[in-house]
């Protein structure tokens, strides 16, 4: 029987395309960073985004989520939907003025309704039992699923944390928007947690995977299918909401922040 240590050390997908994507992205980011100065914080965000991407798609987490554990699968989704796009957006150099906006995306991408609907919609959509199963069995569908989660996550975070400071959502509006995102994900989490129906029936079937690993997960870790699904739902519900809550606090801090002299001074004088 495999040990937990063996799982952590040996079960990496070395041939996953995720490595190539991360390498390419690093190259692009380095080139971009040479042309436009980035802060250490932005570099850190990029590193986190890249590392999270690899962890989600090429680490033991990805192996476990492929057919052994629903909660690992949920963790993968959360990383792809929440952490990767958020950190990727924050890694981008800020631009103060609208005029230098050379990264213009089609306008619907930046709107709140689209952001909320795509991200919450993507989560709900991929947890319809039939689609969940399909994504597990067909690598093409899995690729679509992965891309759609990252894109939906980007659509969600973009209006709040886009690099053009002037065009970001008003902080108090952003707080309400993020809370709405938290509600959308919480509802799915609550549904999955309490539902006696299996959201991804394939995990319950247990077959298909390596017997050793299946036994490790179910027996040594004590992760019965019921517990596994509850754990998945709770991950979607509680830690996911903590991410939204953190973002709310970040936007509130910018809400209380007073812009420095530049335009403040004139208003200050006008008030005199």
């Amino acid at each position: 029987m495999m040990t937990t240590w063996q799982v952590m050390s040996e079960l990496w997908y070395w041939r996953s395309p995720a490595w190539v994507i991360v390498l390419l992205a690093t190259f692009v980011y380095t080139v971009a960073a040479l042309r436009r100065p980035v802060t250490p914080r932005q570099v850190t965000c990029f590193v986190i985004a890249a590392a999270t991407f690899v962890v989600a798609l090429a680490s033991p987490l990805a192996v476990l989520s492929s057919q052994y554990s629903f909660s690992a699968h949920m963790m993968q989704h959360l990383l792809l939907l929440l952490i990767v796009p958020l950190c990727a957006i924050l890694a981008w150099p800020l631009s103060e003025a609208v005029a230098t906006d050379n990264f213009a995306l089609p306008s619907p991408f930046g709107t709140a309704a689209v952001g909320w609907l795509t991200s919450v919609g993507a989560m709900w959509f991929w947890h319809v039992p039939a689609l969940c199963t399909a994504a597990m069995q067909n690598s093409g569908i899995f690729a679509i699923q992965t891309c759609s989660l990252v894109v939906a996550g980007a659509a969600f975070w973009w209006p709040v944390f886009r690099p053009q400071l002037q065009r970001r959502m008003q902080p108090h509006v952003a707080a309400a928007y993020l809370f709405a995102g938290c509600v959308g994900c919480s509802l799915l989490g609550i549904y999955i947690t309490f539902s006696p129906v299996s959201v991804c029936p394939l995990y319950a079937a247990g077959g298909g995977g390596a017997l050793e690993l299946t036994r490790l997960v179910h027996e040594q870790w004590g992760l019965t299918h019921r517990l596994d699904q509850q754990l998945g739902g709770l991950l979607m519900w509680v830690p996911a909401c903590m991410v939204y809550l953190g973002a709310i606090l970040a936007t509130l801090s910018s809400w209380y922040h007073v812009p420095e002299r530049a335009d403040g001074a004139s208003r200050y004088l006008a008030a005199e």
Binding site: P196, V238, G264, A271
Partner: protein, 741 residues
């Protein structure tokens, strides 16, 4: 009181007009009078709830006591809890908010004065309903959280629980209406310059509290209507013996119940955040952190309800996550305590009675908070739940915390409300009686709880130490009773011969101190300029004005339609209500049974009428457009079509109901019937309410009265109508299309 005497009475020298006559109080829509009515009503119920508490303590003073039998004891602790939460805590905080929020933001009144009066008058109505139950044979006796199945008809056959349910529905509706009013007031009615980042912390905390109220109270309301349907129409939502689920009551109750703790605590935090800076002669330390941590508390409080349910055995995964979530709340709460302490640090402290209560609040609230953190750890909870340790814990939070904050706020704002200063010597006596009495009563209950004394049991055996500790506890209750009486004497004495206060007796900072004490009807002759968080300080100390030393965000453009904003807030609360009703449907209709949706519902026909209902949203949008374009005929035509489509939808629902009833499917025949009729019935009622509102607008439009600001009302009702359509899309997908099955 005759009309003549009202007409003859002259405004007195403080600018109070004839409206201060008795009839004036009954018919008042002035936020200050309504605020005082709330506070006085809550004080009356405080005496009633306090008397119940004294009776409970008398029964428990010696072991094996027979003073009060078990049946009356159950009624007493149920009524004590219910009274203190719903008839004292909520109304008195709403009262303070009503009185102070408009003054603090420099407004002349709340956004909807008549709605305000409506919300107040529901409090006495609910209180009378609840207490009327004593005359029906038994007051409610199933505890303040009224767990099913004990509260079901089979185990509580008398009418007490029915009165409890109806009274809480009435009070809940009042709370939601006053919360919506406060939200709109705070967003729209602030004086120029008063940005949301500059409002006094009490106002900010009431804002967050009001949002919590519109999210949490509807959860209680949906639980109440489900239990009421169980008890009166014979359904079985919470009756496990007929397929229902008693745990569902616990979930629903605590989805409301946990935010409720913060609904009672946040306004108290707000009061403390006003009192401590003024009596330390310093601005609050870390305003931004106190404000932002309130948001964090509000959000976290919505997601940790199951820590009240560790003992029911949800499973290790639930326990772990809810324990962590609950522990996290300690962070923003602890942050506030540090901020208050840091405000005291290095300040020139004036130990007025108000400040003494605020400091006692700090100490006692920390104790209550720490025992709360203990309860977040599931194994400790298993050991201590339903013992006196719990009683001690929440009394430290709600009495040692909230009530002490209310005393602090009471002594602080009394001169503003009446123009006279409460006597400080009597105040200090009150303070010491309360501190000693409170800690005597409740500190020893920690030990009783650890020794295993169960709460809600009418007596106890003569175990070693129990008698002494209980006797101390009861003695403490009398100290507190005496404290309250001294306080009331102080109030009555001050009203007669109290020292005149002047506008700003404490040299305080916020706008309410910039007007007369008590304020005249319009509140302010002229609102001072607001350029910082402490406008009155700036006014009195121009050289040290806050805005010269540090800047705060400027006031921005704000929305202008009060009607639409109120409608949006109302929709949020309605969404929560429907969310829980639909959840009940999902819980009880996972399997396809004998009379399940798949077999009995005609999906095709309802789909057709669904389209008609959706079309009515479009026609209403056209009507709005026509009204904006001053096209009277077009407006009436489109509104007429909307009314027709809505009516057709309801007629179809009636036909469908008749068919189901004909086949023997009723609200009591099966859980499908119960959930189906409840969900679609409540939706139908909402459609009906929308139709009535639109019909009124139709009549007004025909008379040509829908002009100017009134046309906003159409927009507000439009929001509501679209919302009802969206709810139907959800109901249709889940009930008819069975997307979640």
């Amino acid at each position: 009181m005759t009309a003549g005497s009202i007409a003859n009475s002259q405004p007195d020298e403080r600018g109070l007009s004839a409206e201060s006559s008795l009839l004036g109080w009954f018919s008042s829509v002035d936020h200050k009078q309504i605020g005082l009515l709330y506070i006085c009503t809550a004080l009356v119920f405080l005496l009633i709830g306090g008397a119940e508490a004294i009776a409970i303590r008398l029964q428990l003073v010696v072991p094996n006591n027979t003073l009060i039998g078990p049946s009356l004891f159950n009624q007493l602790f149920t009524m004590h809890g219910t009274t203190m939460v719903f008839l004292v805590g909520m109304p008195i905080l709403t009262g303070f908010a009503n009185y102070l929020v408009p003054l603090m933001i420099g407004a002349s009144d709340v956004a909807f004065p008549r709605l305000n009066a409506f919300g107040y008058w529901l409090v006495p109505l609910g209180g009378i309903l609840l207490h009327y139950s004593f005359l029906t044979g038994s007051a409610p006796n199933a505890g303040w959280f009224n767990y099913a199945p004990l509260s079901e008809r089979a185990y509580s056959s008398l009418q007490g629980v029915d009165y409890w349910l109806i009274a809480l529905l009435v009070l809940g509706i009042g709370s939601v209406s006053s919360a919506i009013n406060l939200i709109v007031t705070i967003i729209l009615r602030r004086a120029p310059g008063m940005s949301l980042q500059r409002v006094p912390l009490f106002v900010w905390m009431m804002f967050i509290t009001s949002i919590l109220i519109i999210l949490a109270i509807p959860a209680l309301n949906s639980a109440l209507v489900l239990l009421l349907i169980d008890r009166t129409l014979g359904s079985a939502f919470f009756d496990a013996s007929r397929g229902g689920n008693s745990l569902l009551w616990q979930h629903y109750f605590w989805i409301f119940g946990h935010p409720e703790v913060y609904i009672l605590a946040l306004p108290a935090f707000g009061m403390i955040s006003e009192v401590i800076p003024v009596f330390s002669r310093k601005p609050i330390y870390g305003y931004e952190f106190v404000a932002a941590s309130t948001v964090a508390i509000g959000i976290l409080s919505m997601g940790v309800w199951a820590h009240h349910m560790f003992a029911v055995g949800l499973g290790p995964a639930y326990d772990a996550f809810f324990a962590i979530g609950s522990l996290l709340i300690a962070i923003p709460t602890g942050l506030k305590v540090f901020n208050w302490t840091a405000t005291l640090w290095g300040g020139s402290i004036r130990l007025t009675t108000s400040m003494c209560f605020a400091i006692a609040f700090l100490v006692q609230f920390v104790i209550g908070g720490l025992t709360g953190v203990m309860f977040a750890v599931a194994p400790i909870d298993w050991q201590l739940t339903d013992t006196y340790f719990v009683v001690a814990h929440f009394h430290y939070v709600l009495f040692g915390g909230t009530i002490f904050a209310l005393f602090a706020g009471g002594f602080y704002w009394f001169p503003k409300m009446t123009g006279r200063l409460l006597d400080e010597r009597l105040g200090k006596i009150t303070f010491w009686l309360m501190v000693i009495g409170f800690n005597m009563t409740f500190f020893v209950q920690h030990f009783l709880g650890l020794m295993g004394m169960p709460r809600r049991t009418y007596t106890y055996g003569d175990h070693p130490g129990w008698f002494a500790l209980n006797a101390i506890s009861t003695a403490g209750a009398f100290f507190m009773g005496a404290g309250v009486l001294v306080f009331l004497w102080n109030v009555l004495r001050t009203l007669r011969i109290g020292e005149a206060a002047g506008d700003n007796p404490w040299d305080a900072f916020t706008l309410e101190w910039a007007t007369t004490s008590p304020p005249h009807e319009q509140n302010f002759a002229q609102v001072p300029e607001v350029k910082s968080r402490r406008p009155v300080w700036d006014m009195n100390h121009p050289d040290l004005a806050d805005w010269k030393l540090s800047r705060t965000p400027e006031d921005r453009r704000r929305p202008h339609s009060a009607a639409r904003l109120a409608s949006a807030a109302f929709i949020v609360s309605e969404a929560m209500f429907f969310l829980l009703l639909v959840s009940a449907y999902v819980v009880f209709n996972r399997t396809t049974g004998e009379s399940s949706a798949a077999r009995v519902l005609e999906v095709g026909r309802t789909a057709l009428f669904t389209l008609l209902l959706l079309a009515s949203s479009i026609t209403l949008w056209r009507a709005e457009r026509a009204l904006r374009a001053f096209d009277q005929d077009g407006f009436l035509r489109w509104l007429g079509v909307t009314l027709g489509l809505g009516a057709l939808f309801l007629i179809n629902q009636g036909v469908e109901y008749a068919g189901l009833l004909h086949r023997g499917i009723t609200i009591s025949s099966s859980l499908f019937g119960s959930t189906f009729f409840t969900v679609t019935g409540f939706h139908g009622l909402h459609v009906l309410a929308g139709l009535v509102a639109l019909a009124i607008l139709f009549v007004l439009g025909k008379r040509g009265a829908l002009t100017g600001r009134r046309s906003d009302v159409l927009g507000a009702i439009g929001y509501y109508w679209h919302f009802v359509d969206v709810v139907w899309i959800v109901v249709f997908s889940i009930v008819y299309l069975r997307v979640l099955s």
